[in-house]
């Protein structure tokens, strides 16, 4: 496994990029740091969606897992005083992964719009429950206490910033490894021709189920990171369908080209939204939507394809 990762160019660039970002984060104003944190945290969920998208599946309901991750952190904090980042992450990913495992048995039978809408339905069930049940915080949600690392509670948010970066880098490398295995290669194979995969002797349902669990666990981690970065969870910013929409938005904007793309997409989205809100507080969605339209028209393979194009041009001119 290490051999593959060590020889992989994407992995090297990912680690290098995240390392530089972690250092640079120390010298950034707080609002930039925050935006980067939110963007990266969302990028984790988008990474999972990208894995699904490569198979030709789009989930309009990943706010379900995003929300489960966030609420796992908040509830464990409220009832058991869990503040350690590792425990929080494991709880969030475990809970989201487990729900993904269960729902996967149903969802793996569906494709295209049916898959997308059924996932949306499941996420709205959770939203409905959270809003109605007082014990789960209702519409107000909960606040989340400061995150500690192995018993140490850092004062500045920079530590959490670095922790998020480490989590993102680790996830990106693991997904990159997964995509390099036979199972990952099946991603494209299933999109191309499910019938042939079955006749080669591999269960398409099983492969899709596996992908679905990966994407659920990543969305869970993403929600947990978001809860820790915001210090607050509530149904509307964690589980509503608009959250799923945002995740799909970023997935399309970033493009399926690379495991780094989701994080770039997440960060660009966060800054785009901040500036759009600054510019037009009542019509910021218009600016965000217009940007996505422009990207779909001019860069159908997403922002990543723009970087690739620049890369290739530089390579050929030098």
């Amino acid at each position: 496994m290490l051999q593959i990762l060590r020889s992989d160019k994407t992995v090297r660039w990912t680690l290098f990029g995240f390392f530089v970002l972690a250092i640079a984060g120390n010298f950034m104003p707080t609002w930039v740091q925050n935006n980067l944190m939110f963007g990266m945290a969302r990028g984790l969920a988008v990474l999972g969606l990208m894995v699904l998208w490569r198979t030709g599946l789009i989930s309009f309901g990943h706010a379900l897992y995003f929300g489960i991750g966030a609420y796992a952190v908040a509830l464990a904090d409220k009832h058991f005083g869990v503040s350690d980042i590792f425990v929080r992450l494991i709880l969030a990913m475990g809970a989201a992964g487990f729900v993904g495992l269960c729902l996967g048995f149903i969802l793996r039978k569906y494709r295209s719009i049916f898959f997308a809408m059924l996932s949306l339905a499941f996420s709205m069930v959770l939203y409905g429950v959270l809003v109605k049940v007082e014990a789960l915080g209702s519409t107000d949600g909960f606040s989340v206490s400061a995150t500690s690392i192995l018993g140490w509670t850092p004062e500045s948010k920079y530590t959490l910033f670095c922790a998020i970066i480490v989590a993102c880098a680790t996830s990106a490398c693991m997904v990159q490894y997964y995509l390099k295995t036979g199972l990952g290669a099946l991603t494209t194979a299933i999109r191309d021709n499910e019938l042939r995969v079955e006749y080669l002797g591999y269960s398409v349902a099983k492969a899709i189920h596996f992908k679905y669990i990966i994407s659920a666990a990543l969305a869970g981690a993403s929600g947990a990171m978001m809860a820790m970065a915001l210090g607050q969870v509530d149904p509307d910013s964690m589980v509503n369908w608009t959250v799923s929409g945002e995740l799909v938005f970023i997935t399309v904007m970033a493009g399926p080209g690379s495991v780094i793309a989701p994080f770039i997409g997440g960060v660009v989205f966060e800054f785009l939204r901040t500036y759009a809100f600054e510019l037009a507080p009542h019509a910021w969605q218009l600016i965000v939507g217009g940007t996505l339209l422009a990207i779909i028209f001019f860069l159908p393979m997403g922002l990543w394809s723009l970087l690739e194009r620049i890369w290739v041009r530089k390579g050929s001119s030098s």
Binding site: A185, L186, N193, L195, R196, Y199, L200, Y202
Partner: protein, 273 residues
Amino acid sequence: MTASPALKVTDLCKSFSGITAANNINVEAADGDIIGIIGANGAGKTVFVNMITGYLKPTSGKIEFHGQDITGIEPRDATHVGVCRSFQVSQVFMTMTVRENLLIALAIAKDEGKAMLSSPRSPDLVAEADRMMQAYKIHDHADAVASTLSQGVRKLLDIAMAVVANPKVLLLDEPTSGVSVEEKFAIMDIVIAALKEKGVTVLFVEHDMEIVERYVDRVLAFYQGEVICDAPPAEALQDPKVIEYVIGHDHAPNPTPPADAASAAANGTESNA
């Protein structure tokens, strides 16, 4: 269990909401048999192939593979047992190269899928893929994306992918359809040579009687869901029922059949060429 035939089909029936597509089919095939399946369009050839490979569930009847009941199993289980197939329309991974197509097939076939957890680009899998490409004479196209291939090469890739799992029984659904006349014999030469070497039982659906005559040991003629003739080619192609319902009087083989008549028969048309 050495005495049991490689493939034994007993009283196989299939109907689609009242329309009978297969009616009491009884067939036996021994190890290494090469059998041609002929019949007009809609005679039930592909339904037969689909039932044996698990794509369609039979309404009644029994399919046995070396004595093991494989009636109505899933396609992937048929593959695991050793019954594989190719398709009338090539089913390959269109956005991948020929080598990548074979690497995925090999990775799945290896260790019941355990190889899926490591890279399919491991040296031994790549070497095996290269060997396959040599055997099927598609190594010139190793790095070409499947969607850019000619029909003939794509057919060969399709068949090569079906053979990767080391089948004991292989069903080929029209291996030469959509392929130019010059390519047809070349394809069959390559495929039959590669399969005979391994002693695979081959059943292939074919419209071209020249190909049937040249390559098969036995002919199964289908008409309206029934097997109307099961005999060696010399005998079967002279059978009055086969001439009546499958080949057509105009195209009945003479000592030296004209090439255009054979190809017209291949298209299943009744018109005079």
